[in-house]
């Protein structure tokens, strides 16, 4: 079994290394037709830029995107600078240099990688999946009889912030940096999944398709791990199946198929304000321009946020979204599960959490207010501030850096719910409902707590569960995503997630059940 696992690690690492090397490999040959296509697709009117393309890259071969991209980026920047200087605004190109480089590269890949997509898929994704499963599946036997299996978590480098964790951290952060800030380097990755993308939407894959596909693969493989690790706990099994389903079907398949049907790309479960650009002008325009389905989506999006989400939180707590449906939650609960113990449980962290998450919510709301105002009054500024700049700041700081780079990249160091706990504006909104108007709570079982601390340690949201349990008090906290792991790891059967009458939901106590009844009455009556 151990041998099988070691073989698995080797295979996985081969797949991963191939994947990691791809951005710098490959040959690109930009022939004349490609330049013409690019010019017409982007309606480029800058003869300067076209000329640069023709002289500097046309009919030349480039080894690795790193030799091609800088030429395009600087050519575009030069052309734009000249046009701006000459006030030839019609000729300015608004596509970003790196996106331009990405679309040119995408068309001009030649050689082994671009010509052997299937094989390359196998050497990266295929080996990764096989290797990971070879590592994971033997645990059915290795973990022994079913039960809570957290042995060695704080002894292993990977789960105790050792060097493996730091390597994973570097890999994840680099991956997100490429995705968000150097997308042209993802070109080779897009080739691997072209066949899949074409079969779904009819279009070749972009880097976001790579991301979406990879997301589903990673979640599926890590879900197998969840099924094995928590096979004693049916709640975990059902919940994992649910997030996996919503990711694959709602976040991945349906939007791609909608594109094939000439509909707007839309993830029906992604609620505003997590879906922060829902009300952005370009999105509203797209929706309004795509007829019935567009109007339906607009309507659905609004109802989802204003009615469905809070009503469901009232009945089931925010868990129905955060750990049963949401994609961010889905990744956190699968890929992130080995790191859940790293969330900071201190009171200080809780204070930071409240300022940050509510700050982001406020930011999102103000930004959306400005956006809508601009949209309806058709101005670009509100009180002298450019709406566009506010949107850009949010997209960069919150959308990319917070949610992506920090949110996922920092899994091995800060735990798996950094974004959900400190940043997600939707979580903040659901949190209000959960805290003040909901039937959900984690019930503490009378006086049974022995203050061991397993629940707090494994709370991914950094809630000091024990602080409540050892006082016999139910846990009613806005940040709880209802993952159910506190209840699973409790060795004394103290915690139960449940939905019940609001009366008595918060039951603060000083003297616990089991002691003198009169004393309990005396001390606990408030």
């Amino acid at each position: 079994m151990k041998v099988l696992q070691n073989i698995g690690i080797v295979i996985f690492l081969v797949g991963l290394s191939t994947f990691a090397a791809l951005p710098l490999l490959g040959t690109f040959k930009v022939d004349k037709t490609i330049v013409q296509e690019i010019v017409s697709d982007n309606s480029i009117k800058s003869e300067l830029f076209i000329q640069d393309l023709e002289t500097k890259i046309q009919d030349k071969e480039f080894n690795g995107i790193q030799s091609l991209s800088p030429i395009i980026v600087s050519a575009l920047a030069n052309a734009n600078a000249t046009h701006r200087k000459n006030k030839e605004y019609k000729k300015v190109i608004y596509t970003k240099g790196r996106d331009m480089a990405g679309s040119i590269a995408k068309k001009s890949g030649v050689g082994f990688i671009a010509e052997n997509k299937g094989l390359m898929w196998f050497l990266t994704f295929g080996l990764g999946i096989i290797g990971a499963l070879l590592f994971i599946v033997p645990q059915v036997v290795l973990l022994g009889p079913k039960g809570i299996k957290n042995d060695g978590i704080y002894h292993q480098s990977s789960t105790n912030k050792g060097w493996i964790a730091w390597l994973v951290f570097i890999f994840l952060v680099s991956f997100y940096l490429v995705l968000y800030f150097r997308p042209e380097y993802a070109t080779n990755w897009t080739y691997l999944v072209d066949p899949i993308s074409e079969s779904l939407s009819g279009n070749p894959a972009g880097h976001w398709f790579v991301y979406g596909f990879m997301y589903c693969i990673v979640m599926s493989v890590m879900a197998v791990r969840m099924y094995i690790k928590y096979r004693n706990n049916i709640y975990q099994v059902v919940r994992t199946t649910s997030v996996l389903f919503f990711q694959i079907v709602f976040a991945f398949l349906i939007p791609e198929i909608m594109v094939r049907l000439q509909m707007p790309y839309y993830d029906f479960k992604n609620a505003f304000p997590l879906d922060y650009d829902f009300f952005f002008q370009w999105n509203l325009k797209t929706l309004l321009d795509s007829g019935g389905i567009g109007i339906f989506i607009l309507f659905w999006g609004i109802i989802l946020t204003l009615v469905i989400v809070p009503v469901m939180v009232y009945f089931f707590g925010k868990r129905w979204y955060c750990s049963w449906v949401c994609g961010c939650g889905g990744l956190a609960e699968t890929l992130g599960d080995p790191y859940r113990q790293h969330s900071d449980k201190s009171l200080f962290a809780w204070k930071v959490e409240r300022w940050l998450i509510h700050g982001v919510l406020l930011f999102a709301v103000v930004m959306t207010g400005m956006t809508l105002y601009s949209f309806f009054s058709e101005t670009g500024t509100v009180l002298g501030i450019k709406t566009q700049s506010v949107q850009n700041v949010y997209s960069l700081a919150v959308g990319s850096i917070f949610a992506g780079v920090i949110g996922t990249g920092f899994y091995p160091i800060f735990g798996n719910r950094v974004w959900c706990r400190f940043g997600c504006p939707l979580a903040a909104y659901l949190g209000f409902v959960q805290r003040f108007k909901s039937r959900f709570r984690i019930t503490t079982n009378g006086g049974q707590c022995i203050s061991c601390g397993n629940c707090s340690t494994y709370c991914e949201q950094g809630i000091d569960v024990r602080a409540y349990a050892q006082k016999g008090e139910n846990i009613v906290r806005s940040s709880c995503v209802g993952c159910g792991v506190c209840s699973a790891v409790c060795p004394r059967g103290v915690l139960k997630l449940e939905n019940g009458p609001e009366k008595g939901r918060i039951n603060s106590k000083d003297v616990l059940l089991g002691n003198d009844v009169n004393l309990m009455d005396l001390v606990n009556k408030k």
């Binding site: 809570i148 042995d151 978590i153 009171l347 397993n454 059967g493 019940g500 616990l512 089991g514 001390v523």
Partner: protein, 448 residues
């Protein structure tokens, strides 16, 4: 304003301090030689097993004590002089008190076995024991086999700990079946099976005779009363605990096995009290033992004594008995009294149900004449404390418990429920026709 000095920073001493602080402005000092800050002893095993770090076992952050004006002293009390109300610490310093609370817990039993003080022989009680085990048994290369002596809760925890590092374990249990002085036969049998499932070499009905030393004064093997010699590097002594009160021998406070206290938790000396594992009631309360060495009772004594110390005299008057434990992967809870075949009285009868495949079972104790419900043991099913507490208070009979069994279930959502099977067996056994009622929030929360 009184100066309340507490010896021992375990659950009983700390609970007391917290409650005193809530009720009053008294000066509070807690003295302990074990650790700077309160930690949960029950969680020691999880540190060795790598589920947690030691800091995770500390229920309060380090700033908590200062903020609540609870002074902490790290030191060992060597002498208590109730006449002059003075304590002497090992380093020679003294502390005076107005009220003294002894909450010094327990220490592992040693029954004078030859070789019991060799290197590699240890108990599992304190933080230091944990550190020692980390040294004695860091992995299975250094510790090829461990022998654990004493089949109680700490023994099985220690076995689980060592197994988490793949160290072969032999488990010597004096009784004919694991913990059968407390568990009923069906339960104890199930746990025997579960222990074997975890590849622990369980030797029932076996006593330790002697621990053999190697040339360096380290344990090398144990000899059992069956004549077996078992080679090992580590011997875990887990045959129960005794109150940790040796330092009081010269204090003229009345001692038995523990510090003798009355229902107000007062000792024989004025303004000296004792709580937790080290306190011994003159007579057991109800069916309780005079010394109750469990977490919950320590906590309850702390809650009660705080009232007394803050001018609101209260007897220690615990409610219905409850307890819990975990045997490897099997959780155990108990509410009310279920006595084992070895200790129960004649009027106590049992109804037992066990799952055909899984390690799940329950035992309900009742009075054979009145069918009054006396208590329940549950394994692998979680039950609601509140509900059973209420049923015990209201003197419900077993029929009632069976009818409303669904109200008591506390398993996580979507778990398979066994009430129907349990009630079927009950109906068949007693020729009854009980119909299970649906779970009702109203009934569950009728007390809240």
């Amino acid at each position: 304003m009184n100066h309340i000095v507490i010896i021992g920073n375990g659950i009983s001493g700390v609970t007391l301090a917290r409650h005193v602080r809530k009720l009053s402005n008294n000066r509070i000092t807690i003295i302990s030689a074990e650790s700077d800050y309160f930690f949960s002893r029950t969680a020691l095993m999880y540190v060795y097993m790598g589920h947690m770090k030691f800091e995770h076992t500390q229920p309060y952050e380090n700033w908590f004590w200062k903020k609540n004006k609870i002074d902490l002293v790290n030191g060992f009390v060597e002498k208590v002089a109730p006449d002059s109300k003075k304590l002497t610490l090992k380093d020679g310093s003294t502390i005076t008190y107005d009220k003294l609370v002894i909450a010094t817990g327990s220490k592992p039993n040693k029954f004078g076995w030859p070789g019991q003080d060799l290197k590699g022989v240890q108990g599992l009680y304190s933080k230091q024991d944990l550190e020692l085990l980390e040294k004695n048994a860091p992995n299975n290369a250094i510790c090829n086999r461990a022998v654990i002596v004493g089949g109680g809760l700490i023994g099985i925890e220690m076995a689980e700990m060592l197994r988490s590092r793949k160290i072969p374990v032999t488990f010597l249990v004096r009784e004919k079946s694991f913990w059968n002085g407390v568990l009923t036969e069906g339960e104890s049998t199930m746990i025997n099976e579960h222990i074997l499932e975890h590849h622990i070499d369980l030797r029932l009905d076996t006593n330790l005779e002697e621990i053999i030393s190697d040339e360096n004064g380290r344990a090398r093997a144990v000899v059992t009363d069956k004549g077996d010699i078992i080679e090992c590097n580590v011997v875990g002594l887990t045959a129960g605990v005794t109150p940790n009160i040796d330092f009081l021998k010269e204090s003229c406070i009345e001692l038995g096995r523990g510090v003798k206290v009355n229902r107000f938790l007062e000792t024989s000396a004025k303004d000296v009290y004792a709580i937790g594992d080290c306190a011994e009631q003159h007579e057991g309360i109800g069916s309780r033992r005079p010394i109750e060495a469990v977490w919950y009772t320590g906590r309850m004594m702390g809650e009660a004594l705080a009232q007394t110390l803050c001018d609101n005299p209260r007897e220690y008057n615990p409610g219905h008995w409850f307890n819990s434990a975990k045997f490897l992967d099997v959780e155990y809870q108990t509410y009310g009294w279920v006595f084992s075949e070895r200790s129960k009285e004649d009027h106590e009868h049992h109804f037992h149900w066990r799952h055909p495949k899984e390690k799940i079972c329950i035992t309900i104790a009742y009075h054979k004449d009145t069918m009054k419900f006396l208590g329940i043991n549950t394994f692998g099913i979680r039950m609601r404390h509140e509900v059973f507490d209420q049923w015990l208070t209201e003197n419900k009979d077993v029929d009632h418990v069976m009818t409303y069994l669904k109200d008591a279930n506390f398993d996580p959502e979507f778990y398979k429920l066994y009430e129907a099977e349990i009630v079927n067996k009950y109906n068949a056994a007693f020729n009854k026709n009980i119909r299970l009622e649906k779970k009702s929030w109203k009934r569950i929360f009728s007390k809240a």
